[in-house]
Symmetry: C2
């Protein structure tokens, strides 16, 4: 493989990177062209517009991960069932332009007679493990729908989706708690965040702990940014409790600096070490998949 | 006490009942005049308009429970701290027209260094216990903010607010799950409800189980009304799990027929008996408080 374009095409954004043969990132681009902004049949034109020049380069190969492979995307790439490693994912890629452009499938797993799914995170997981030189581990990709992933011998055994970011936004914007919280998101109040994490970890349900945001305001014991950071702690603590980390010593946290900072802080209160990986994990994961791609 | 008007003045509705000296309900009225619809200073006029004729009767006494006693209501009646029985509440009533019209205070308690509050439910609790001839018990008042109440020797020892109805509405209307649920609420699918209750009871967090509504739809295993009933089961099951009912044999459920039916069904799966009480509990509770009122 001499020339490689890695693309992360999500719901609200489109990002791409041009990689050297050894996986080094040479150039990066980002566009506000998530799949929700692309009209039916419009994917080839947007792709050409954003990456056409790179694809002119000799021997260029492109792998695309993310929601572009969903029913609402460019072309559906059926989920690859767990356990699955990067070679399994490579074998299940869907070619758009044979030998040139392919879409990476997401992963699915079964838990409690219920399916779970991810799209895009699988590339980040394989990339983070490669960057860290690990074959096993517990990983979390925090976000609107956080993914908790268990990897053994390089293969994703199982994973779980936790709607942490969405619950936070619902409570922050649409619930009765919104009345007592500042409209704009302020900086993190560490003590407030820790108090929220601690309460959730020793409680049984966010449906009960969340009301404390209101009652603390009602009795004028707390207000404003303190309560917003506290609510953030409540949902992150709830997420950690849901994952039963009693025997886990370290967690690989993949995400933006602001989010991984909060998770590292919350994990530390449980004596769990956080290894961090940033956006480079996506490019490295796609490069790993591409390297084993049958062409 | 010869003539008594019991009023439940909540956020969105205003209800009143005229009771005989022995507590029997003789007449009932309901108005869409919750405190949110009353302009500042408008409470006396609305009260006169709705109940003026009843208050003309000889010796008429009126007790009002609910949000009319909040900061945003007619006059603030400070919370009565737990443990508290109906006599404590009677002693803390706030007179609006001395000897004629008084507002019943809500209750407050402390749990995990955090206050919790109720307004209006205290009258229902005392009334239900009186109607059932009980002095001890665990009670639940299901709703937007469910209240779980522990009573010993006729006094509320402690209670907890669980935001069950609000979480259901947030997920139903504002979350990603709304896309896979029918716009209108259908009838209860018992099997779906039970499946949701069971999953929540053996899980750790609604933030994780809720995503199954989406994944089951994504794989076209379930759809429509089944999923709506399943989500209802998930939140009710989460509420039961949060209350650690392992040693509880029976729970007094106070509310509308539709809601108490769901809770009785969910409790039965845990081998817990449900004793039901309806809206008459409010009138009976206010009558009990009135009977001990210092006039």
């Amino acid at each position: 493989m001499t020339a490689f374009l890695a693309v992360d095409w999500g719901t609200s954004s489109l990002r791409g990177a041009w990689l050297a043969a050894d996986g080094a990132v040479l150039e990066e681009r980002a566009f506000p062209r998530g799949i929700l902004s692309v009209p039916a049949g419009g994917f080839p034109a947007v792709f050409e517009e954003c990456f056409g020049d790179w694809m002119q380069r000799p021997g260029a190969l492109c792998l695309i991960s993310g929601m572009a492979g969903s029913k609402q995307g460019w072309a559906e790439a059926a989920y690859c069932a767990c356990p699955a490693g990067f070679a399994d994912v490579a074998g299940a890629c869907r070619w758009i332009v044979p030998g040139r452009v392919a879409i990476v499938p997401g992963l699915s797993c079964e838990r409690e007679d219920t399916p779970d799914v991810m799209r895009g995170e699988e590339a980040q997981v394989f990339g983070a493990l490669d960057l860290l030189g690990l074959q096993d581990g517990v990983l979390v990709l925090p976000g609107t729908h956080s993914k908790w992933v268990r990897v053994t011998a390089g293969r994703v055994e199982t994973f779980a989706t936790v709607m942490t970011g969405e619950f936070y936004a619902l409570l922050r914007q649409h619930s009765i708690l919104a009345r007592t919280l500042p409209a704009a998101e302020g900086g993190l109040d560490g003590e407030a965040f820790d108090a929220g994490v601690a309460l959730s970890l020793r409680s049984a349900s966010l449906m009960q702990t969340a009301f404390s945001v209101r009652s603390l305001a009602l009795f004028e014991r707390r207000s404003g940014d303190w309560l917003a950071s506290y609510l953030s702690g409540l949902v992150v603590g709830e997420e950690l409790r849901s994952q039963q980390l009693a025997k886990v010593k370290q967690v690989i946290v993949i995400g933006s600096d602001a989010l991984t900072e909060r998770y590292a802080r919350a994990l530390a209160t449980q004596g769990v070490r956080a290894l961090r990986a940033g956006s480079a994990a996506t490019w490295r994961g796609l490069w790993k998949i591409a390297a084993t791609l049958p062409r």
